[in-house]
């Protein structure tokens, strides 16, 4: 799967998870940029991404994802 496609899909999932349809997100976006991106929404975001791609991240991966770029990279590694 192409990284560009992954990013756009994850952006969509973020907007749904954080309930902000017009949220501006790039690979560099982190939780510090989005007030609603707290620890529980982080878990919900990862769970939604896992469901979308039929993959599973372990706890260490989940806790180490700091940016959208990290998550995209994680998805790319699991799906390629």
């Amino acid at each position: 799967m192409e990284k560009k496609n992954i990013l756009s899909e994850i952006v969509h999932i973020c907007r749904v998870t954080f309930e902000e349809p017009h949220l501006k997100i790039t690979e560099k976006t982190t939780s510090r940029d989005i007030p609603k991106w707290d620890s529980l929404n982080h878990v919900m975001l990862i769970a939604a991404i896992e469901k979308k791609y039929n993959i599973k991240f372990d706890l260490d991966d989940m806790l180490e994802f700091d940016s959208i770029g990290d998550i995209c990279e994680g998805v790319y590694k699991k799906t390629s």
């Binding site: 620890s39 529980l40 929404n41 769970a47």
Partner: protein
């Protein structure tokens, strides 16, 4: 000694929540197998804890999972170490819970411990005894450590001048940079809420704060210290002499309605 430490690491945590709940008149329940404490939504603490020590634990867990789903007890579930830990985890995961943290249970014999002199230049550690400092403590903790569930200043003011819960603030050149707290249960001091502002990490402040808290506990006749270390904190505590005894695994039932 191992079994004693393992038990104390668990009992100090339950004692911590129970005392917090009683002082703040929160709803809580404690039987042999399950402990839970509730606060308002979004306000710490909201925890369910299971003691996984008996072999036929499944019925108790299944019954309480239903209560979580019905939102009668909190959706954060701390699975204590024990012979049934993996069976409990299987059941939680089957019901939609997801592991969100892991803490290492650690202990230190204070009778063999020598608190190190504070070597961080300009660091002053204060025992909190007034409302203003307590408010600062709450603000710092909410900012650094807690996000989805925040401490309330009103709840914490009930502990100003308390003899069992002792709270500390670290000031570096008069700027507030760090927190720590201990819970005294008999002769065991539980260490909790050790945080340092991100910009001030890796300077020895966490170590200095823990040292000061332990020195305070020793003055109050504590002979042992216990804590639950995150991945970030573990190397600091190991260097101080804390040893690992068990593993606590925290799960959350994933869903907007379970925040």
């Amino acid at each position: 000694m191992n079994k004693y430490n393992q038990k104390e690491i668990s009992l100090n945590l339950i004692d911590f929540y129970e005392y917090f709940a009683r002082k703040n008149q929160l709803k809580y329940s404690y039987d042999d197998d399950i402990f839970w404490v509730r606060n308002a939504p979004g306000v710490w603490p909201n925890w369910t804890i299971s003691n996984s020590e008996s072999e036929d634990f499944e019925k108790v867990v299944d019954w309480n999972i239903k209560k979580v789903i019905a939102r009668e007890i909190p959706a954060y579930w701390n699975v204590f170490p024990g012979i049934s830990q993996y069976q409990v985890i299987d059941r939680l995961e089957g019901a939609g819970f997801r592991e969100i943290f892991r803490w290492k249970g650690m202990a230190l014999n204070l009778e063999e411990f020598e608190a190190q002199k504070n070597e961080v230049t300009g660091l002053e550690v204060r025992l909190i005894n007034n409302g203003k400092d307590m408010d600062h403590f709450v603000d710092m903790l909410n900012d650094i450590l807690l996000d989805a569930n925040q401490l309330s200043k009103k709840d914490m003011h009930n502990f100003i001048g308390d003899k069992k819960f002792l709270f500390f603030l670290g000031y570096l050149h008069n700027q507030m940079v760090s927190t720590a707290m201990i819970n005294l249960r008999d002769d065991v001091a539980g260490v909790y809420m050790v945080t340092t502002l991100p910009a001030f990490r890796n300077k020895g402040i966490g170590t200095a704060m823990t040292n000061e808290a332990l020195a305070c506990a020793i003055e109050r006749n504590a002979t042992r210290a216990v804590l639950h270390a995150s991945k970030m904190g573990e190397p600091i505590y190991r260097k101080m002499g804390f040893k690992e005894y068990n593993l606590y695994r925290i799960f959350w039932l994933v869903g907007k309605q379970y925040r």
